[in-house]
Assembly symmetry: C2
Homo-oligomer: 357 residues x 2
């Protein structure tokens, strides 16, 4: 039976970059990949059309799908809306609604793009970190939350950071499993010296890893030190695992070490390998519709989809090799342009990767 | 009347670096600075001597003092203790007990040490950011907090992020006042697209700055983007203001951009300019007692003390100039050692600065 892929172009550059990824999927479909594509609205596009960022039809289609490809959501246009109905809520609703608790964010430096990094070459060459971020818990979803009025008339804003043992355990297992396919080292990041919630995080990390991942080396780092170490010596890390909020911050920091966030895909997985795949960069409303955006992170998200949700590792390799080839050939979208290279548009980049395939 | 300075050497390298700062203070006292020094225990040293990280006598002396100089707290030795009685609790107890709500963390690149940065020279040369971190609120102190057992027998850890309007307002004023003495730009960092508490943060930031700091340019950035931008283009920032937790992470990241955290002081101030001053680096138990640690961050903390709590800006300038001079002279402790420079010990560095003064 063919696999159902739901395409969610989203906002800003979302539609144009997703189009290039669809080209790649169409090409593979022509060669035997048995997929069926459907499309739906999310984020600002959904707000404009339906009044809310995550229409029921979109969530239903997402639940039925085997995998989801998302462009990006958000933009200036919707920034003044209330938190409850912003584009971001569409993304958070999908994560929670589909139980996508494991967010994988690789930070990989492409040797062809080493110059793009703001860090010295010796510090980042060969960089290959996998950040495993818990995605459906923590302070992002904790209750109670809101703004209340105090007795003296002042208002107070509050949110709740909360993790139960089973949530910590399952994300540790994801980190452990991934580490086994890599260098077998997991660094768990917390603030156990201040936050009781992450003291429990550390305790569970030790228990799970000692019991079932004795072959994987476990270390712990406070989040402030982790931010420092990412800048000081990022290559010390193999797999990092952390909470939703810390993962949001550290994965963006790690991604930027490469200097080319237009290149980095991500996967958000549930217990059964179903996943949502998206570039880590945003919707870039300032260049939307100009055929300038880099589609490679989205195309590489398709590779992650093939690997993690469709069990097609060979096809994933082919896409990654094709991306490497176009980089070797000197093709560059404006965000990664450098002296002596050939500047191409979003479309041209998508076509080039498809052609190499 | 002479000003009372309380010295808290703390743990690890704390005592040896604080000794060098005391030399500097003694020198200035000999030239008319009217100060009286006292000393007390905090952190692991206090745990070993009294069973707790912040003895009442220490807190009382701190309350009576006009300013406090702290070395560093913590170490492997006390890491397995419960959160409630760890060395860190001593530090947190001082911050809360003295109402030191404004933490100033400059990230400055010394031109003499530009090579120490892992970032390319053009990205960090001339870097001069001031991070203003809220220090007595937020998730560090929010109630309720702890670990509870759920009905199904699972345990759950929880912490509360909370800010009331007046807390946000006063830290914004500190940021605004400091910006006026610099480039008049404040970037407020939050996660207003996800956390209601920081949605309030943003609202209050706008209100305070528009009303009383119309001459200061206010911008907002999500914390994940701020972490990226610190790596991508740190010189875009003048003053950054943020919550306790985000400030912990971002200030360490910003500090590491300079490559020499052994050089960076910090100040924690109350409403009246009373303050606690300390290097931003930790207690480095691995090199404690070896006369190897860099005392310059602690000496520069004395300069901040003179400027912010003792109203002795001219003496602060003298210390900063003296530090610049010893760097120009090529003196380097091991952490900042480079080819062609002269390696010196903790003591020798302290003596050199005192001699230049
Ligand atoms: C858009 C926002 C809600 C989201 C997050 O904070 O998780 C984004 O920053 C991300 O990392 O995917
Ligand atoms: C030691 C620790 C409690 C402290 C903090 O988190 O505030 C430290 O990291 C700091 O930044 O001063």
């Amino acid at each position: 039976m063919s696999k159902k892929i739901l395409i969610l172009p989203g906002d800003g550059i979302g539609p144009e970059i997703v189009n290039q990824a669809v080209k790649v999927m169409d090409k593979l479909a022509g060669e035997g990949l048995d997929i069926e594509l459907d499309e739906a609205l999310v984020g600002g596009a959904a707000i404009d059309a339906t009044g809310g960022p995550l229409p029921d039809t979109t969530l239903d289609l997402a639940k039925e799908a085997d995998a989801i490809l998302l462009g990006a959501v958000g933009g200036y246009k919707w920034e003044s809306l209330d938190i409850a109905i912003r584009p971001e809520k569409g993304l958070l609703g999908l994560r929670a609604g589909l139980n996508l608790f494991a967010n994988l964010r690789p930070a990989i430096l492409y040797p062809q793009l080493a110059d793009a990094s703001t860090l010295k070459p010796e510090v980042v060459s060969g960089l290959d970190i996998m950040i495993v971020r818990e995605l459906t818990g923590g302070i992002y979803f904790g209750q109670p939350r809101g703004v209340r009025e105090l007795d003296d008339g002042e208002r107070e804003g509050f949110n709740t950071l909360v993790y139960r043992e089973s949530e910590i355990e399952r994300i540790m297992r994801v980190a452990g499993d991934i580490a086994r396919k890599r260098d077998s080292r997991v660094c768990s990041v917390d603030k156990a010296n201040v936050l009781e919630c992450t003291e429990l995080w550390r305790e569970v990390a030790v228990r799970v890893m000692e019991k079932d991942y004795a072959d994987v080396e476990l270390s712990h780092m406070y989040v402030d030190n982790a931010a420092m170490q990412l800048v000081r010596a990022p290559k010390q890390f193999d797999v990092m695992v952390t909470t939703n909020m810390f993962g949001d911050i550290l994965s963006d920091c790690a991604a930027m070490l490469t200097g080319s966030i237009g290149m980095l895909p991500s996967a958000s997985l549930d217990e059964n390998g179903k996943g949502m795949y998206e570039p880590i960069h945003g919707s870039a409303p300032d260049i939307a519709g100009q055929n300038k955006a880099n589609p490679l992170a989205t195309i590489l998200s398709v590779a992650m989809m093939l690997r993690y949700s469709l069990d097609e590792a060979a096809m994933a390799d082919r896409i990654e090799n094709a991306v490497n080839k176009v980089l070797d050939d000197g093709l560059r979208t404006p965000d990664i342009m450098a002296d002596g290279m050939k500047e191409v548009s979003t479309e041209e980049m998508g076509d080039a990767v498809t052609a190499v395939l």
